[in-house]
Symmetry: C2
């Protein structure tokens, strides 16, 4: 069993670069850290290329990873490779899945317009999964879903849910052709509780500061607003997403 002892090793150097979006886009690869996320990835359709294991650490016995390439590294190399302080001694190098082509003719969708905070994006993907959405569409200006912080915040939901990057104007057009109701979110919208739960829909939520692009809001069937009863100026976008998705879906 060979153990990589140097952070200057070509493989390690190449994998470390996957912390940047540029290299992830170029290579089509990304990293995941820790047992829970890797377990979720193993259960999913995701293609894991390499498992990087810290020397002396064991993988859980129930993992079916015989076929996978395993690379062993020292503590120091693992520390260099991992973004988290406690990567639990294991990192997986994964292939980004093929582009989804969501039908947008039936089902329930979350459309995300330029949400930039990785923690927010991750929490929104996790919430969309919990609320039983059929898929998530990421518009331009949205954080990269393969960013480490996004992945950690999804708690594995990134591997459960079809995710598609797409121009949102086009996505809304397709919904309208397919008679799938589209709801925007806007301070000028109707109070969300005035809308009944829907069998199928797309909900658009937007950027932390500026909200949903006004051009998009003009294309929707209706725009919704969550009332503020206290002195807060607004809700966090991930929390607003949770309130709206759980209201809109049939409980």
């Amino acid at each position: 069993m060979e153990i990589i002892e140097s952070a200057q090793n070509a493989k390690i150097k190449a994998w470390k670069k996957l912390h940047t979006k540029k290299e992830r886009d170029k290579s089509g690869l990304f990293l995941i850290e820790g047992k829970h996320l890797i377990e979720e990835a193993l259960k999913s359709q995701l293609n894991i290329k390499d498992l990087v294991i810290q020397e002396g650490r064991q993988m859980p016995e129930e993992w079916n990873v015989k076929e996978l390439t395993k690379v062993y590294v020292t503590d120091r190399v693992m520390k260099e490779l991992a973004e988290t302080e406690t990567p639990q001694g294991i990192v997986a190098v994964c292939e980004q899945p093929e582009k989804e082509n969501l039908p947008l003719d039936d089902g329930k969708y979350l459309f995300i317009d330029a949400v930039q905070d990785p923690g927010n994006l991750g929490a929104m993907i996790r919430t969309a999964d919990a609320a039983g959405m059929s898929g998530v569409v990421l518009g331009q200006g949205t954080a990269d879903p393969y960013n480490g912080k996004v992945i950690r915040s999804t708690q594995g939901s990134l591997f459960h849910l079809p995710i598609q990057k797409m121009n949102l104007e086009e996505a809304v057009e397709i919904c309208k052709e397919n008679k799938l109701p589209v709801f925007g979110t806007s301070l000028k919208g109707s109070t969300y509780t005035a809308i009944q739960p829907q069998k199928k829909f797309a909900l658009i939520v937007g950027n932390e500061g500026s909200g949903v692009n006004p051009g998009l809001l003009e294309q929707t069937d209706q725009n919704l607003y969550i009332p503020i009863f206290g002195e807060a100026e607004s809700l966090n976008v991930a929390i607003a997403t949770g309130i709206l998705l759980y209201h809109l879906r049939e409980n």
Copy 2:
């Protein structure tokens, strides 16, 4: 106008220590950074002891801060003092408000049991404010509300809403004596949509990993559960709080 040029200055050293909970507890002081938060603090009852201003930066003209002590510092000293990368050239040293004594006999309350992530706690306080809660009770093991990350995540709601640190068993006892309905959150609870909106209530939400303390759950009137429709194992606690508070309050 004197400008502090050294991070070794006694005042600067004392203020820098306020980044730790220990020193905040000892001194009863805390720091806030940036124009928006300081503006919210100025509008509130909060006692601001000192404004620390980076040389060359202006305070907004509309601020009524004539009476406040102002201390000017160099760019480098500001960088040492501030936790954020863009503190916008201004930091305020504030007194922690006197202990609240929430009546818990009427109104709507959020009880937080051992939530440890500062971003979650801040988002929950912001959401409680937005949902028009009367106050927030922080049980043992909950993050310090005067932690910089918590304050930033509250977006100023920390200064709008009465916040009380208190043993939650005692808080629930007081509610019961006052006939204020108490709802816990538990995987074994009833689906939350089975509960009608309430004129007055206390909702208990709990730790990111272990949820609400089982002893507390036994004391409640009813425990609630948010169904998971997809493959996610759970919801983020701040998002669950948003869904439940907006459902429970009368819209």
